[in-house]
Subunit: 420 residues, 2 copies
Amino acid sequence: MRAEILTIGDEILIGQIVNTNSVWIAQQLNLIGVAVTHMASVSDSDEAIQSAFDSARNRADLVFITGGLGPTKDDITKKVMAAYFNTELVMNEEVLGDVTAFFAKRGKELTGINRQQALVPASCKVIRNANGTAPGMWLQKDQTIFISMPGVPYEMKAMMTDTILPMIRAQFKLPFIYHKTVLTQGIGESYLAELIEKWEDGLSEKGIKLAYLPQPGMVRLRLSASGDNEEELRTRTEQSVEDLKTYAGQYIYGYELYGQETPALEKIIHTLLKDSHTTLALAESCTGGYITSLFTAIPGISEVLKGATVPYCNEMKRTLLGVPQEVLDRDGAVSEACVLEMARRTITLFDCDYALAVSGIAGPTGGTDEKPVGTVWMAVAGRQEQEAVQFRFGDNRQRNIQMSAQYALNYLRKFILKHN
Amino acid sequence: MRAEILTIGDEILIGQIVNTNSVWIAQQLNLIGVAVTHMASVSDSDEAIQSAFDSARNRADLVFITGGLGPTKDDITKKVMAAYFNTELVMNEEVLGDVTAFFAKRGKELTGINRQQALVPASCKVIRNANGTAPGMWLQKDQTIFISMPGVPYEMKAMMTDTILPMIRAQFKLPFIYHKTVLTQGIGESYLAELIEKWEDGLSEKGIKLAYLPQPGMVRLRLSASGDNEEELRTRTEQSVEDLKTYAGQYIYGYELYGQETPALEKIIHTLLKDSHTTLALAESCTGGYITSLFTAIPGISEVLKGATVPYCNEMKRTLLGVPQEVLDRDGAVSEACVLEMARRTITLFDCDYALAVSGIAGPTGGTDEKPVGTVWMAVAGRQEQEAVQFRFGDNRQRNIQMSAQYALNYLRKFILKHN
């Protein structure tokens, strides 16, 4: 079962909107075991649409089409479909009733241009639209089914969920697909690949596909298996995840199942703190409030986060946090001694259970031979104990901040797990 | 000049990541007068990639390819390209030097798998990657140029901006397009559209196209004119911008010329502070470090930014900043009195020339009838004077933080201009 997604509309091609419809449709299809093998976006032009239909028909069993169904002249999808399927547009009374009711509900009269929304290709199965005026259309040519939907995301999503996905499940016997994504932090993509090379080599004979999904400061590994026996796929994939732990267990901080949100490190820490009724504060120098802003994006974080300081200059490290002048003179602001003081004093200042402190040289200037740009010291503290670690990232300021944040968050997570 | 964009990678097809690369590339190409007529996403499969190359070659002059260039086994774009162009992969010494330097700079050794990043199709023009290990490749087949880039957004963007767009402009005679973007803050898109309706109606006869580019808390208006006479286009567009000021001058905070970075409010403030040798500190409650992180993303900001506090709970507003308990008891933390105290005390605590303080209810919970979710107070202070203002945004937490940040930054900018 191969599916393709086709988006029709100039707004995508000029880069005015991000194509989130395709992402969502792909997710839904994967969940029911339909593989999406191609996505395309074409303009509102007769030739481009017909050519895309031809290509898709040669490759796919199902073609999902969004966009180009509005009442204005630039939207031509419906006309092109009627021509492509050698049929004509006819007034559908059921849809006309829906459209009339749609306008009546909003206290508006049905105008001629909106009446045309009830015209559909004579040979199509109509998919009713509970949230708008453009109906969906289900048409077959040779062995390929074309399903056309409006481009307005919430209209399209309701149609997919309520009508189209159930129709597909009813009509086809689908293989099951099991995805599991392993979240790692603390090792770059290529080093991880070497570390797990043997494990990776064994995957193909187990029928498991692996994908590396790198982001600044972390790499996600996605394992996918497809087949008929859901339970067996799950067992097989989970066994491979277990095997992976013997190679790279120390870098794994979480898992993501398909259709679930990625558990970000700051959210994992939020849960750890909430469950143990403990509190956190931060002292951010080179990361400049970025880590705190990740935490404060989480609803309900105020239960566990007491606050933060951004002592961006040496003077403030001394006056705001109380880092001794002699430490700054002797070791500098980017040093083990300084971040340990920052973390310790944050515990006192905020009367909190855990503290995270970061100080480094984000760049592009400020580096020395001894402490080049990208040098970052970070410390974590509890009420009794504290520890510090140094990293050396690259020379891109924004990336250094992001990398520092991910490394610091994972360092804090491990510290909390150890001391909770 | 017809361009297509091809994205290679299973992560797009299973809906795991949103394809923002295509949007950005389309925007850049449109800005230099190259129309994007097709976008596609295919899997990391030999057959799918070759077939997509064939289709694109029949339609387009330029094909922009992203993804599939990582060092791991699932990435096959480079091998497929070599086969498609009937050439072989050869070690490129220049790229090998780049890759070696990339690792050396990070204190790491070059491993075998990373060495392979320096293999490129023998017939390609190499596009060097300043931010990663995968080089870009420029190859021609018949009349079509294929340009392959890594999928990591900041690597791809730097390559496009620094090398590829200049190469395209040098190689092809493109019509001249003059773009000028007017940056507004403090008025929503639809209100702005009503305010400038008359002005907008007159644009088409002047041959100027207008695009609204809304973002949380601001609206950018892009004016574009296309033709052969660069000077005349500039004069005509700049005159329209002058005319716009009589309608919406109070909302305009800056301008952006094509190819120049958007002058974000925090950058404008950075310049104002630097030029007047003054300093800034912040006290962020509901924005939770986000505004500070915008400032600290700017290289060289440490000259003017002394630091910040994030007093996320009432206790910390009292102990860290010294907001009197009676103010918190009487008016609450989200009040004019509280933000004025926060701003005033930040001036003292940081011994700085300007302070910005924000306190509000980001949501989704914590609102009351009197102060619903989205209520935000902000204050600005100098060494002598201070003022405060209240806004009411919506009920989406992330959006409230972003909106607060933009409104606060513009409020601070105006205050500095008034008192500098």
